[in-house]
Symmetry: C2
Subunit: 154 residues, 2 copies
């Protein structure tokens, strides 16, 4: 059984499958068919562990990676050459009305391109990636993108 199920090409629906197993205290493993199993736990501030991936990290990371891959996909479609892309992201968790929730995720991409013309295209594609990132479209938090674009002629 694969970890993804493509229900039908007509309905454009996919099912992603994951699994968890509790180990001890507030830690366990996260698995998905055919992929390396991850150790996971609550973060130290919620009585968990340091140095282990947490649900909070993976939530913020899933938005950040989705933004990167969406941008790269648009760049490939437009044949826009990218020299490098890296980013960091901050996800803000706040206690509001008796519950914690992520209110805001801010992504800071640093993108290097070869010309000033490409720089303009990057801004356009970043706006499109922000609009079409499927994970960002699935969450209730505000997502902001604050890019830095470096022009490095070859």
């Amino acid at each position: 059984m694969d970890s993804v199920e493509h229900t039908s090409s007509r309905t454009k629906s996919f099912t992603y499958k994951t699994g968890t197993t509790w180990l001890e205290s507030r830690s366990g493993t996260l698995s998905s068919e055919g992929k390396p199993t991850l150790r996971v736990a609550s973060p130290p501030e919620f009585k968990g562990e340091r140095g282990v991936w947490t649900p909070e990290d993976l939530f913020v990371g899933s938005v950040e990676i989705c933004h990167m891959t969406t941008f790269l996909s648009f760049a490939a479609q437009r044949k826009l050459s990218i020299i490098s892309y890296k980013s960091h992201a901050n996800g803000v968790l706040e206690f509001i009305d008796g519950d914690y929730r992520f209110t805001r995720i801010v992504i800071f991409p640093t993108i290097t391109v070869g010309s000033a013309v490409a720089e303009t295209d990057v801004h356009t594609l970043l706006r499109e990636a922000e609009k079409h990132c499927l994970v960002a479209n699935s969450i209730a938090s505000i997502v902001e993108v604050n890019p830095t674009i470096i022009v490095q002629p070859g």
Copy 2:
């Protein structure tokens, strides 16, 4: 610099920090200070790779782990003894109004306890975990929990 910043105990706010670096095509790495770096990519159905964690997997996984750790935290508070906990989760991605989004995440926990009394408590705590899971509270998708509870007297 730690990957988590506790802004203030009065406002109960935490900031989770992650980073990505593009490698090639639609793949890269996901990092968080002090944790093992993950290889990540788009899934094959979006021109990515097989056998690598994707934003889609990590989104579904973050909800699933958060549900587990929230449940375990409530069980510890009530001194409810759990013999084992594992789950699997299905996240349904659908193309609606011109964009993909996760419409539904269904979590199937299998929980083993030592008595029929504990079984009743587990149902109560599962409902509370469903209500208070901070990642589930941060997303727009419907989250459903379909538990199987096994009573295994010691």
